[in-house]
Structures are given as structure tokens and as C-alpha cells.
Amino acid sequence: MKEEKLNTLRQQDVALREALRLDEAELTQMPADLNARVMKQMAQEPRKSRIRQLWPWLAAACVAGFIAVLVTPPKDQTPTVALQTPSPTMKTPSPTIKTPSPTLPLNGKGEVSPEASKVEETMVAKKETKEVAQRTPSAKKVRNNQKKQTTPTSQDTEVYNDLAEVQENEVFTPLPSGEGQGGGSAGAVVTLTERDIPITRPENYKYTPEELALLKKQANEAYLKWVELELEIAKHNLGQTAQQ
């Protein structure tokens, strides 16, 4: 039906319009405080714009997570390798320890004053203690044993010789085979072997080249035996057939 015709009908349908007008007149009146309630509700409800303001933070968190995933090294690169082979910094004593620091205060004879040497020594000891504490409990036990048997070296007057000795003891002392052996300084570092590291991750279960060669050899032997067995079975079957 066209709009024009409908508009004409709208004018003609007087009874319908009158009925609607009466209905509207009988409708319940709007409560006077309803608008005030709406305004109160508007004031109480949290604004949606606050929720909208969250999205940049969410996006930033997602980007940070993505970067963290990218930057994190894969599980194959375990730190056990670094522990198995002593690092060059551990083998060679640090030049800052062996050579007197230019900033250290010197006495009249051109030697380092005892107070300064004590400061440097304590710094080294602290550093080493921290390093050992991060390693395995077995190494800690060994170090404690060494502590008991070691005479204090801090009372020595010759700073350079003492420091060098401490460093050599720390770095090159082999792992004692039993308890009660060994004799390093208080902050002695023990080179860890594979046996000292508890294998807790599956990627550490790796065969050595010798073990791999042995496995291959055993596999080849087994294969040869299997071939021989197959040949014997074939021969036996042929004999059976010939007899029949």
C-alpha cells in the first residue's frame, strides 16, 4: 500500500484515532521522581569509557608477552653446559684482584695499605660465596668441609701472594673424592662435573659419542644375526619342500 493512501486513511479513520487518544489519556502517568532516579543511576554506574580505556593496556600487555616469548631462549640451551666446562674467567684469576687497583690507597712504600686490601678481599669473598651458593648442594657441603680445615689467611701481611693463593685454591682445586679431604680457602670454588649436577630435565639425557657408537655396533650385529636366521629358515623350508 502506498504511503499517500495510508496518509489518507489516517485522516479518515477518525474512530481509530479517537480510540487511541482515549487509550493514551488513560495511560499511567509518569512518576515525578523517575527522572531523578535515572540521573542518580547515571551518577552511580561506572562509566563504560573506563572499560574502553583499558584496551591500550591490554594491547601493551599482549605485546610485552609476545616480546618475552621471542626473547626467551629455547629450552635446548641449558646452563648445564656452562657449568660443566669452567669458564675462562674462573680459570684465570681476575686482573683486578692480582694487580693493585689504581684507585686503592697506597702507603708511603708504594704498597697497598692493609685496610684497602681487606676491603678488596672481603669483596672477593662475598662474590665467590654468592657464586657457590647458586650451585648444587653437594658443592656447598664440600665447601663447608673445606672451611673447617682451612686456617684463616686474612691475617697474612703479603696481600698479593695471599690473594693469588686464594684465587688458585678457588679455581684449580680438584673436587675432593671423599669427605674430609681438600684444603682450600673459605671462598673456594669447586669445578663441577656432570655427576654433581642432578639430571632433572629430559634434554640432559643424551648419549655420549662412545655410547652412540656402541649402540650402532650392537644394532648392526643384531641385524646380521637376524639375516642369518632368516637364511636358515629359508634353507629349512626349501629342504622341507624338496622332501615332499
Partner: protein, 185 residues
Amino acid sequence: MTETDIYLIQGLRKQSPKAQQQALDRYGGFVFAQVARLIPGVENAEEVYQDVFVKVFRNIGMYDEGKSSLKTWISRIAYNESITFLRHKSQPVIYYEDRNGEAEKLSDTEVDETFGQPSAETVQLIRAAMKHLPPDERAIITMFYYEEMSLKEIAYVTESIPTTVASKLSRTRKKLYKIIKMLQS
């Protein structure tokens, strides 16, 4: 659109309480009547009314001046909120459904004559028959005859197209006449 309307819309977009109060004063009565017409019970109507205006104030950013006036846009929200309330929260009510299409067979002349009679009896019959119409059809009839909205505006409010609204109006008119006849018999 008048200058006052422009200022009002700008104020609403800035979430100004003064503009919100102004919008409530200007359109509150109209919206409440529209809601109360569709929804039975004053408490329910009040609840929907509050929801309508909260939605209007929150989503004013989505209002497009080029598509409709602010009043029509608010009316659309009120209509949708009312229909949603009726579908989900209201008690189910049985309305007259012309499943056999008998109303369509009625002659236009007969229908025009009945609705054109301004007698008290006919008016009462129409009012009684209106209560048997489904809410959406009643809303369309009211929007067209009482609020004198154009087909385009009704289509915007009901999320439809003008031709559909026109055919729905014609069908509802005949259906109303059919109910009157049933009430008379």
C-alpha cells in the same frame, strides 16, 4: 534540526548532566508513554524507562544525525528495549493471530466504513480490540495514527523498511476489524 537540538546533542556527547536532565525533561514523557503502552505494569515500565535513558546517554556517540532525529533514535531504543523485555522477562500473553489469513479477505470498503464512524460504540470496540493485538502491531498502529510518524520513521524505529511497515499497517488494520467483528458476535 534546531539549534537547541544541536546543543543538546553536543551536551549529551560530552556526558553533561545538564544536557541529560534536559533530554529527560524533553523526551521523558514521550518515552514513558511509548514504554507503558507496550509493557504491562508501572514498575516494569519504570524499569525499562530507566534502561532506555541509561542506554541513550551511554551510546549517544553512536547517534547519527543524518539518519534520524534524536527523538526517533530514542524512540527506536525504547521500542527495542520494550520488545526485548516482553520477550525475556514478561509473562507470556496470548494474542489474536490470524493464521488462516481471513482478515486479508475482508473488503477495504467495509473496514474503512467501520473505522470512519466516530460513534462511541465503535470507539469502545476498537479500544477493546486493540488489547488483543500483539505489542509490535499495536506499537505500529499507535506510531502511525497517534504519533503521526511517517512510514520511514516507523521503519527506522522497528528496524524494518517502509514497504514492510505499510503492508503491516494494512494487515493490522484489517486484523483489528476482524477482532471487532469477533467481539460483536
